[in-house]
């Protein structure tokens, strides 16, 4: 018989420590939906999504009940729409966003990602049109997420794209000002974007992926924190060991759920994303893990080192627990989605500069950060370029998801509720980067990209 202690530990993790499967994300290729008439293409997109994902939600709900583990989100990711819409010249790509939303609602998923463009080395047909349509697409839909990849270690950084995205981020906030600037919360700007990321808002289905696939994202910051709390006087190597063991257990559940879902849906199983994804709920915070390790507040000196240890130990524990790893796989540090981060930002312990340093050692980037509404487009572009540079040089994924709080300044806050949480407006550096951003062109790839 399975050990009673193990049984009770699993139940305690789920009941008291917020262990859950954060998302089952089905990736669907839309390459066979390309058509030069946008209405035909949209019909094909709707048919393909609703056909592939028809059983996703019922199957996931059944697995939830059988294993007794909550599966918080069921999501879809599709081929970057810029590739699909490239054939539809002079037609408004927002129709694709509306179709994605309709299909997502029909199959009952929470979010659908892939209103995306990959422009790390320049703009192909359809890319500019899609990027320019992002603010409207995000304002007219509620569950469609968008992402743009502006750089990679292999190609360098497309500074022209950084410049455009500064404006697009701000416009996305302005267009949704009546809805707490929510448009910008559904838009991510990436460097080294992964093809198999199950997490939103950055999920899309890469062009090298199979026709349809299941990816799983786990969670469990609360479990890691609770495990660390039992070792108040352990030295730091022991702390790393505790995190590894806990991460192994968390990831095993992800693997089990992913394999089961894949078998029942008749769709190949892709990857488990090892990320520790927090939520605003009490007891589900990455910041609180760092504080448990020994920091007064997340954001104090020492945070970067503690986070590096956490991120590394999570991977080492998870790597043996599943057959394939992918996506973002690291600790997330979204400010508005993490109760400890929100507190640290409110009390002034956590600054954007510190968050930027933290992104060098963990996934994913400057995530869910609310900035003053009067931030200039060039400053947003420069924040994107800085973050992309960290990703490019460190051969890792970085991203920027910042929300300009239109009409608000430091001291106020935006509140979206649910998993998106709420975030205080954070102070930014107001010195102008305009001349740098307006030079345009391509930042060359770093020397260590030449690996062949």
């Amino acid at each position: 018989m399975i050990n009673a202690h193990d049984i009770l530990e699993t139940i305690r993790m789920i009941q008291n420590e917020c262990l859950d499967i954060r998302t089952i994300t089905m990736g669907i290729s839309l390459l066979d939906c390309i058509d030069s008439y946008i209405d035909n293409a949209c019909d094909k997109v709707y048919d393909k999504i609703t056909r592939c994902a028809a059983n996703l939600v019922p199957v996931a709900e059944k697995i939830e009940k059988e294993f007794g583990i909550p599966i918080i989100n069921k999501r879809l990711s599709v081929t970057p729409i810029a590739i699909v819409s490239a054939a539809c010249k002079n037609q408004n790509p927002v129709k694709f966003a509306v179709t994605m939303e309709k299909a997502a609602k029909a199959v009952g998923v929470n979010l659908i990602g892939g209103y995306s463009a990959l422009v790390q080395k320049g703009f192909a047909a359809g890319d500019i049109e899609l990027i320019e349509s992002i603010p409207e697409a995000l304002a007219t839909t509620s569950n469609v997420c968008s992402s743009v990849n502006v750089g990679s270690t292999k190609t360098g950084i497309n500074l022209d794209a950084c410049k455009i995205m500064g404006r697009i981020v701000k416009q996305s906030a302005i267009k949704t000002v009546d809805n707490a600037c929510f448009g910008a919360a559904k838009l991510v700007v990436f460097c080294n974007a992964p093809d198999d990321n199950p997490f939103m808002a950055g999920a899309f289905h890469g062009v090298g992926e199979p026709d349809c696939i299941i990816n799983v994202g786990v969670s469990g910051p609360g479990v890691v924190r609770a495990a660390l709390a039992k070792h108040p006087d352990a030295d730091i190597a022991e702390i790393a060991d505790v995190i590894k063991k806990t991460s192994y257990k968390i990831t095993r559940v992800g693997q089990l759920v992913g394999v089961t879902a894949s078998e029942r849906l008749g769709v190949p199983f892709g990857i488990v994303d090892l990320s520790l994804a927090p939520t605003p709920a009490v007891g589900d915070s990455v910041a609180h893990i760092l504080e448990e390790i020994g920091l007064e507040h997340c954001g104090s000196h020492g945070t970067t080192a503690a986070l590096a240890l956490l991120n590394d130990a999570v991977k080492k524990g998870g790597v043996m627990a599943c057959s394939r790893i992918g996506g973002l796989s690291g600790a997330f540090i979204p400010v508005s989605e993490d109760a400890g981060m929100i507190d640290a930002a409110k009390c002034g312990a956590l600054s954007i500069e510190k968050l930027e340093a933290m992104t060098a050692v963990c996934s994913v980037g400057l995530d869910m950060i609310v900035v003053p509404g009067d931030i200039t487009e060039d400053t947003i572009s420069a924040i994107i370029a800085d973050e992309a540079a960290i990703g490019m040089v460190n051969s890792k994924t970085t991203a920027v998801r910042i929300i300009p709080a239109i009409g608000m300044d430091v001291g106020e806050e935006l509140d979206w509720g649910g998993l998106f949480g709420c975030g205080p407006v954070m102070k930014i550096n107001k010195n102008s980067p305009s001349k740098f951003i307006n030079r345009g062109g391509q930042i060359p790839a770093p020397l260590h990209s030449l690996k062949n």
């Binding site: 018989m1 049984i7 139940i11 059988e66 007794g68 559940v253 089990l256 043996m320």
Partner: protein, 89 residues
Amino acid sequence: MRAVLTVIGKDTVGILAKVSTICAEYNGNVIEVTQSVLQDMFAMIMMVDISDLNVEFTVLSDRMTKLGEELGLSIHTMHEDIFDAMHRI
């Protein structure tokens, strides 16, 4: 296929009987039971063979959750695979 059923809460008369009656009704075979009562807290772990259930496993699990609510107990019905996955290499 086996399920692990855990019942935790304040001890009252007939908990084991009610839980096992539902198992029998759905053709679940109780293989093993460990239970303890500390002061007035009841804790039971039951292993049930669910290979020949006459309903979907989720029906059994919903019914147990409902029974737990009625009796003011916390009852979890989970497939054994999740415990194997987490605690065995």
